[in-house]
């Protein structure tokens, strides 16, 4: 590299929260025009590091240099003025404002510094969106009306509306379909060609291989490796650095005779449909069987699960458990009949974040521990402990607040809730979303064990290898329609991708 | 005390005369009419049917016994005249709404307006507007900013209330050295509360043996009267007299006194509620007197409006026109004269 100093240089960054040392002397160098990937499990300190970089957290110790000059990022505005923009994983857009208003929030083009020039803002936004390859997004539309992928583009447009020298992207591909991801990479390529530096955070190693230049791996608040070549470092080495283990995905063995052949159908779905979301669907899940639904974002996967669960009211068809039809559109009827849902958005849809693990686990079975509404807390604790132990939830103390758990253990808390309830059918929506690579295998093993114990499992995932590796049978969805059904071993990833893109069982 | 009653007779007479002047033979003492018009029935001037007068009346929302009595007095008084028709608006505490109502009355071209503003200052403009439109305004109680906005103002005397209460208590405690007095005031946000307190303090200056030792403000409600009085009683284990600004909150104050089991002082009320009159008449509790802030002023306002509409003066006075301002006297009602006032007591 040139003798000039790196664009950004962080050294010895330390940050503590009460009881937690989130960052412990982290170093990070970022050159202009490079894609620098940040890897690490949940809790490794990635989020804290980028919040320090964004000016949202003040480090307790350490030095940040920008083009060689020591700087203090006192606030997000200070960071923005230097040209550092951050696109957070949870998008921070205002739903009730238009695209253009969101893009220019806080720095609206004005006349005399007061009157907002709406048209100028719209035109500038239009230019940015075209540059990002999304001319179809109308700058005048409300952000709330856009899809998640489009909202991400808006978020990116907002970052680019400043004179930006460094963009931090926190799991930008999590909500995107493969073609959207391709577009994202193209944008990243354009940016780096212009000399903009990108700090890229992702769980997906293959993405890092595709676009990354260098990799820094964080573990337990320390940088365990800095500036590794992204393309040539073996996966094994990276995973080993992150987890101390050398394997990535390990799926549990399937039981010898496929359970689809011998079990009795527990869950039957007959002609279930929701107008505009998915077409009439038939499926059966037998005791001990894991059925997977594979499809792209927008293929109706989550909608199907939520309709089966009664959280959405079907426009046609019915759901039967053990042959008995459920009252449509009633979650309570579904839960009483033995259904349990582990939803996609764990924090928003499943967990009581202020509460302990015990209370999160027991919430669906309260009446079991209660006489005349009076809770026997001893019995509740014991049962929650038993359920979490069975799933090897860590830490082995159900009194801890659920929000202190890692993603994988939070998912286990949700599973423990249904285990305790004694549920017969488990509906899993993106079960490993936000779960570390290392913790996934354990979660897969748990799901398989639950199936082996007689549960019927319906699994939805956007990660095709996950569906193929975990499920016994796979239904491939495209635009709300089942285009193919097959035993999982009979499919491979390419085949499934062809199916979801093309819609016909191409060879 | 006698000089007070005589002063009362003289000054209150002004209003009573103006009222009675216009209605010989009007008997407001019918049995079912207990909360109605001026108790005084002395005929003073002509009540012969004259020119027909339409009177527009706008008052605040009657969410308080006294205001309720104001409406009653106005309505009942107007009904007694064959030559008066009353245009009554829905009472409102919202300034904008009241302005709208008065403007409607102006547009209807009523002959005279009687206005008890929710807020005197805020309604000055609309008073001016009516006057400019040639509609004389009788401003009731809460005064407009400028005399230009009304032809005649009639209202109570808050300072005078305090004065009367102070003098009454001072006379009662005459000769008692180191006498202690406490005050349960009304809503402190209101100017009238300050005026009542000022009058009370000024009167007490005439009695060097009497000292005001505590004052707490309630909110004209029973609930607040009970709460504040309970605290005052706890704070002052020994005192000789209490002045309470308002008989409504006095219900609560009396309740607190009863609950504390105290009866070692004399209490003077304010306003002139029926319950207070009854307690004074029974004379078995601490409440010995109350200072008037008579809602009969609304009846007098109707009389004045009628006189204005017919172009007459006040009977019994030498002038050809009605006065531009009439301040009612805050009489003290005690056991001796309570029967006379009983019919004017409001609930």
């Amino acid at each position: 590299m040139a003798p000039e100093p790196p664009l950004l240089s962080m050294s010895g960054i330390t940050k503590s929260f009460p009881g937690v040392r989130a960052l412990d002397g982290v170093d990070l160098d970022v050159q202009a025009g490079e894609v620098h990937c940040l890897l690490g499990q949940n809790g490794a300190g990635k989020s804290t590091l980028i919040k320090v970089l964004a000016g949202a957290h003040q480090p307790d110790d350490g030095v940040i240099r920008w083009r060689g000059e020591p700087v203090t990022l006192r606030s997000p505005i200070a960071a923005m003025r230097l040209g550092i923009a951050t696109i957070y994983q949870e998008l921070d857009l205002v739903e009730h404002l238009s695209v253009a208003e969101n893009v220019h929030l806080g720095h609206e083009p004005t006349t005399t510094g007061f009157v907002v020039r709406g048209r100028a803002a719209k035109e500038a936004t239009g230019r940015l969106l075209r540059r990002l390859g999304h001319p179809e997004i109308d700058p005048g539309r409300l952000v709330g009306e856009l899809s998640a992928a489009q909202q991400q583009i808006v978020s990116m447009a907002r970052a680019l509306s400043h004179d930006v020298r460094l963009i931090v992207m926190d799991e930008p591909s999590a909500a995107l379909d493969p073609d959207e991801v391709d577009n994202l990479f193209r944008i990243v390529g354009d940016l780096t060609a212009d000399g903009v530096a990108v700090v890229y955070i992702s769980h997906r190693l293959e993405e890092i291989r595709r676009i990354g230049d260098r990799v820094t791996v964080l573990k337990d608040g320390r940088a365990v490796a800095g500036g590794l070549p992204a393309k040539s470092t073996p996966t094994r080495e990276v995973v080993a650095l992150m987890t101390g283990r050398t394997v990535e995905y390990v799926f549990p063995e399937r039981p010898a005779p496929p359970p689809g052949d011998r079990g009795t159908p527990v869950l039957q779905v007959r002609g279930l449909a929701r107008d505009g979301e998915f077409e009439p669907l038939d499926l059966e899940v037998r005791a001990g069987e894991i059925v997977g639904l594979a499809g792209l974002v927008g293929s109706g996967r989550s909608e199907i699960l939520e309709t089966v669960y009664g959280a959405r009211r079907p426009t046609a068809g019915q759901v039967l458990v053990d042959g008995r039809p459920l009252r449509p559109g009633s979650v309570r009827a579904a839960v009483r009949a033995g259904l349990g849902l582990a939803p996609e958005e764990r924090k928003a849809q499943a967990l009581l974040m202020l509460e302990s693990v015990t209370r999160n686990v027991s919430v669906s079975s309260l009446s079991r521990f209660a006489r005349a509404g009076w809770i026997d807390r001893g019995a509740e604790r014991a049962a929650a402990r038993a359920a979490t132990r069975e799933l090897s939830l860590r830490p082995d103390d159900p009194a801890v607040p659920v929000r202190t758990l890692s993603g994988g253990n939070q998912q286990k808390a949700v599973l423990a809730r249904w285990l305790l309830r004694g549920c017969r059918v488990l509906l899993l929506d993106e079960p490993t979303r936000g779960v570390d690579v290392g913790a996934r295998a354990e979660l897969y093993a748990v799901v398989r064990r639950l199936a082996d114990e007689g549960l019927a499992v319906l699994l939805v995932s956007s990660e095709v290898p996950e569906v193929l590796g975990l499920a016994d049978r796979v239904l491939v969805l495209r635009e709300g329609r089942v285009v193919h059904t097959a035993p999982a071993p009979a499919l491979d990833e390419h085949r499934v991708l062809d199916l979801v893109m093309e819609g016909s069982p191409a060879s | 005390m006698s000089h007070l009653t005589s002063r009362r007779g003289l000054l209150f007479g002004t209003a009573a005369v103006s009222a009675g002047a216009l209605l010989a033979g009007c008997t407001s003492n019918d049995t079912e009419d207990e909360s109605s018009a001026a108790g005084d029935t002395r005929p003073a001037a002509d009540d012969k049917p004259g020119k027909h007068v339409t009177i527009g009346f706008a008052g605040p929302q009657a969410d308080h016994g006294w205001l309720n009595a104001i409406n009653d007095n106005a309505q009942k008084r107007a009904k007694k005249y064959a030559d008066v028709s009353l245009e009554l608006t829905e009472g409102s505490n919202d300034t904008a709404q009241q302005i709208g109502q008065i403007e409607t009355l102006i547009n209807k071209k009523v002959d005279v307006l009687v206005v008890l503003p929710a807020d005197g200052k805020a309604l000055t403009q609309v008073g001016l507007k009516a006057m400019r439109a040639g509609i004389p305004v009788v401003n009731l109680d809460r005064i407009f900013n400028t005399p230009q906005a009304y032809r005649c103002w009639i209202g109570g005397d808050n300072y005078g209330m305090g004065l009367s209460a102070g003098h009454y208590i001072g006379e009662k405690l005459k000769g008692k050295s180191g006498a202690r007095v406490i005050e349960l005031a009304g809503l402190d946000n209101l100017e009238l509360t300050k005026q009542r307190t000022q009058g009370f303090d000024d009167a007490l200056k005439n009695y060097p043996n009497v000292r005001k030792v505590a004052r707490q403000a309630a909110e004209f409600t029973v609930e607040s009267g009970q709460a504040k009085m309970a605290q005052l009683l706890q704070a002052q284990p020994k005192f000789d007299a209490l002045w309470n600004h308002d008989d409504d909150q006095g219900v609560g104050a009396l309740r607190a006194i009863e609950q504390a089991g105290r009866d070692d002082f004399l209490m003077v009320g304010g306003a002139g509620a029926l319950s207070a009159f009854q307690a004074i008449k029974q004379d078995n509790g601490v409440l010995k007197a109350t200072v008037l802030y008579p809602p009969t002023m609304a009846a007098s306002a109707i009389d004045l409006a009628r006189a204005l509409g017919q172009g007459k003066g006040v009977g019994g006075l030498a002038e050809f026109e009605i006065p531009s301002s009439i301040t009612l006297y805050s009489a003290v009602v005690d056991k001796d004269n309570v029967d006379q006032y009983m019919p004017t007591g409001f609930r």
């Binding site: 929260f17 009460p18 009881g19 040392r21 809790g43 300190g45 989020s47 804290t48 337990d220 979650v331 309570r332 928003a348 849809q349 499943a350 967990l351 974040m353 202020l354 509460e355 209370r359 027991s362 919430v363 309260l366 509404g373 009076w374 809770i375 009194a399 801890v400 607040p401 929000r403 202190t404 890692s406 253990n409 809730r417 | 929302q61 009657a62 969410d63 308080h64 205001l67 402190d188 004052r215 707490q216 403000a217 409600t221 029973v222 609930e223 607040s224 009970q226 709460a227 504040k228 605290q231 706890q234 704070a235 409504d248 219900v251 609560g252 309740r255 609950q259 089991g261 319950s275 609930r347």
Partner: protein, 339 residues
Amino acid sequence: MTQHASPPRDSADTLAPAGRTPAWRGLWARADVRTLSLLGVLAALVVIGGVTKPDEFLDTRNLQLVLTQASVIGVVTVGMTFVITSGGIDLSVGAIVALASVWATTVATQEYGFGGILFTAVLVGLGCGLVNGLLIAYGGMVPFIATLAMLASARGLALQITDGRTQIVTVDGVLSLGERDSYVLGVPPLVLVFALVTILGWLVLNRTTFGRRTVAVGGNAEAARLAGIDVRRQRLYLYLLSGLCCGIAAFLLIVLSGSGQNTNGNLYELDAIAAAIIGGTLLSGGRGTITGSVLGVLIFTTITNIFALNNLQSDVQQIAKGAIIVAAVLVQRRTASTT
């Protein structure tokens, strides 16, 4: 002990990986600290009262007085704490108290004596709560708007019933309940009711499925729904509960003031919300503490008492009250974050 969770901080990512730090151990400590800081404020007030007015303040009668004055708003605050814990708000409590108190003291109701008054007050409270609950749970209205509408209409109806007049209670059984003769071992019956409601409220919130569901609905209504809780029915019950508390409070107010008036319960909604929030109940829902709420009420009542005993006027009282609210919340946040 009431159950407290520490305030939410950052995403799980900034916290230690599970099992590394016993962060939860601080939880109980923090719960203690929060309650202790309220007790500390109360103790400071007692010291101030005792120093400024030793004879009048440190007196059995004054203790009876403070607790009695706290009873009415205290019962309302217990109901409000449930509603706020569930993520809702009830702006109509003062108006319901007013309506229940006037409906229960009309001449017609008083003919039925003690039982008639008590029954009517409770029934009116429940009725208003039912309407609130139905509008919010099944009519899909925002609690703020639904209860604001109830505030307006209940006050209007109360005014219509009374015509602005004070309704004096003549039933001896009701009146005597507010007098010294009926004190039980020196405890006024009103205070007994307040204590009973507090204890029941605490038990229900912390030890029953109803309380657990309330917290769940407030913490995350969508998660509660997907966990199989009947969120709408729970909301209905919660506003019914608040209405019931208002009915009881109205009866206590009738006993205390010996009357019913449409101006009763003025600004109770703000006092109750303020007491609950100072006590540590989260305005956004998901965490509620009856102990804290009751301490909040006692702090407010004690402040008023000390001011009145020292003959401070309303302007000073209001300024000081505002300052104390801010100070109490700041002290709490500080103690909660440094431990």
